[in-house]
Amino acid sequence: MAEIPFTAALNRAMAEEMKQDERVVVLGEDVRAGFFGATSGLVDIFGPERVLNTPIWESGIAGMALGLAVTGLRPVAELMFADFFYLAADEIANQMASWHYVTGGQTPVPIVVRTAAGGGFAIGYNHSQCTEASFLNPPGLKIVAPSTAHDAYGLLKSAIRDDNPVLFIEHKLLYGVPGEVPDEEYLIPLGEAAVRREGKDVTVLAWSTMVGKALQASEELEKQGVSVEVIDARTLVPLDEATLLASVAKTGRLVTVEEGRKRGGVGAEIAATVMEKAFGSLKAPVVRVAAPNIPVPSGPAAEAMHVPSVPSIIGGVRTALA
């Protein structure tokens, strides 16, 4: 079993799926070169028709993916930055989200829209956001956000085989992070969370980069005598409510951690759902650790202050325990 970077895991997933299903095509800006490396080299194996560089046209990339999907192909589209979901929002939220429904299921809508989310380069408000929260409300989408190379591989393969549009959120700080990816093929079903660490005092639900920070925070808290259960949501829609509720039933306390803004964030939906379904078990209000309600600030100093940190997660857990 090799340790390979997150991008290599994505690359392997795409290459395998393209090999075994010639309907799978990759498109996006500079996907041949591979801006963050995930698609690099695919063109050499599968040729320029199946690995298509597009003009700078985000709504087009999403809309073309939809057109490809409803005419027999299985596009994996790349939008270079998650911020650009808003440029393609009509295609994503109004069109692909509804297409299966309004056509009465005459066609599957097998689309993956991959993107790079989050901060890390300190380049501010249009290249650093986590935008998944705005896409919870549209129907018909699935949303996936892996935290490890292992999951990136297994989830991307499932996403490509899914007959529905999947927003696949990759964090740019994860791309270079290596992880163990078994040599044998495997799939990770969409909609299954992973308990990363068992604990009994409080549940922390996170995804993407925040899982790593939550684990660090829980080690710190362990030393302080607090036993934290860390769940990696992996898929945000559909959410693995069973795993989450089972954990909350045990701990009675929940902290959600997300890099995106708090107001209208993913944590709000999770908090409301857990309250609805497990009010009796909750010993304290669900705590949402998230970014403040501001544009992602420019510059390393401000960016670092803005993104949830290990101390802010510890603070959130402390609040939940208070």
Binding site: V25, E49, R50, L52, T54, P55, W57, S59, G60, I61, A62, G63, M64, A65, L66, G67, L68, A69, V70, T71, G72, L73, P75, D90, E91, N94, Q95, W99, H100, Y101, V102, T103, G104, G105, Q106, T107, P108, V109, P139, G140, K142, D162, D163, N164, G191, P238
Partner: protein, 332 residues
């Protein structure tokens, strides 16, 4: 292009084909007339964006397509749907949101019918520019020989993705035909309020796309201009752009009086009503008699009426039906 009795050389067309296209136009006109009557009697919920006076464009364009070709049609009338082969039964089943419709009644006005290449009618104008590019690209990748026809109004030429679409179509030499009905109205405003130039088609030039302007009142002309573009696409020579000069001979939608339209313009254009133009030619060339035409109209009325009656008599969708089908496959 002005309306009126301009002398033109008739565009060549097989007599049988002309008669068939005439029949389709009559069917469209009949369906929309019956639709309007139902609305006037407040018997139906669905507003109509009727295409009265523009039937030659939709019927002419679609006549150039094969059943397997893809069509992205517009909200303006049902000529394109009829021309592409969607049956009255299927249209009205969808309009009435009945589960027997091709889209299980989920489409409503957003008609789709995959068995005849109708991929779907979006509600946000221009959302389908890029979807059509995707469909044409799909055919190029799959080498399936299909052509995609993207139909739109001149008002929609101002929408965001227009330029990007022309660029992508030309860049990849896609089998994509742009068919633009310039009906001179964008809702309640004349198109000179929307579009900087009188003709839109010449824009294609700058993107490296061949273009033409066709008489949208003459179904033979509309058909011929589209056929040329479709043939070019089918030969792998890339996209073309055809602008059809026509006129929306009625209000934007059934719920408004269209008071902003000048009566004399309407009259002038009605002189070149596409059904009239075709009838005159059918008579002049001895292809059909008045009597035969009356029979065509009767048959159309029967076809529409029975489809409407059937749809009306079917039950509404259930809650179970309404709530299902968001995702393909099972999702908890």
């Amino acid at each position: 292009m002005e309306a009126g009795n301009v002398a033109r050389d008739p565009v060549p067309i097989e007599p049988k084909m002309l008669l068939e296209l005439y029949r389709r136009m009559v069917l469209v006109r009949m369906a929309e007339t019956i639709h309007k009557e139902m609305l006037d009697r407040q018997e139906f919920y669905l507003m109509g964006h009727f295409g009265t006076g523009q039937e030659a464009v939709g019927i002419g364009m679609t006549a150039a397509l094969l059943p397997t070709d893809y069509l992205f049609a517009t909200h303006r009338g049902i000529a394109e749907f009829v021309g592409k082969g969607m049956s009255q039964e299927d249209i009205w089943a969808e309009y009435y949101c009945r589960s027997v419709g091709p889209a299980k009644g989920k489409g409503g006005l957003h008609l789709s019918d995959y068995k005849v290449g109708l991929v779907g009618l979006v509600g946000s104008l221009g959302a389908d520019y890029s979807i059509a590019v995707g469909a044409a690209l799909s055919s190029k990748i799959q080498k399936d020989g299909r052509v995609t026809l993207y139909s739109f109004g001149e008002g929609t030429s101002s929408q965001s993705d227009f330029g990007s679409t022309l660029n992508a179509a030309a860049l990849w030499k896609l089998p994509l035909v742009f068919g633009m009905a310039n009906n001179q109205w964008c809702e309640f405003a004349h198109y000179s309020d929307h579009v900087a130039t009188g003709d839109v088609a010449p824009r294609a030039e700058g993107y490296g796309i061949p273009w033409s302007i066709a008489d949208g009142q003459d179904v033979a002309a509309a058909y011929a201009a589209t056929q040329e573009a479709v043939d070019r696409a089918r030969r792998g020579e890339g996209p073309s752009f055809v602008e059809f000069k026509t006129y929306r001979a009625g209000p934007h939608f059934s719920g408004e009086p269209g008071a902003y339209m000048a009566e004399e313009d309407l009259c002038r254009w009605r002189e070149r009503d596409p059904l009239l133009v075709a009838e005159q030619r059918l008579l002049a060339e001895g292809v059909a008699t008045r009597d035969e035409m009356d029979k065509i109209a009767e048959a159309a009325r029967a076809e529409v009426t029975s489809a409407v009656e059937r749809a009306r008599s079917l039950p509404d969708v259930t809650y179970e039906e309404m709530i299902s089908g968001v995702y393909a496959g099972e999702v908890k």
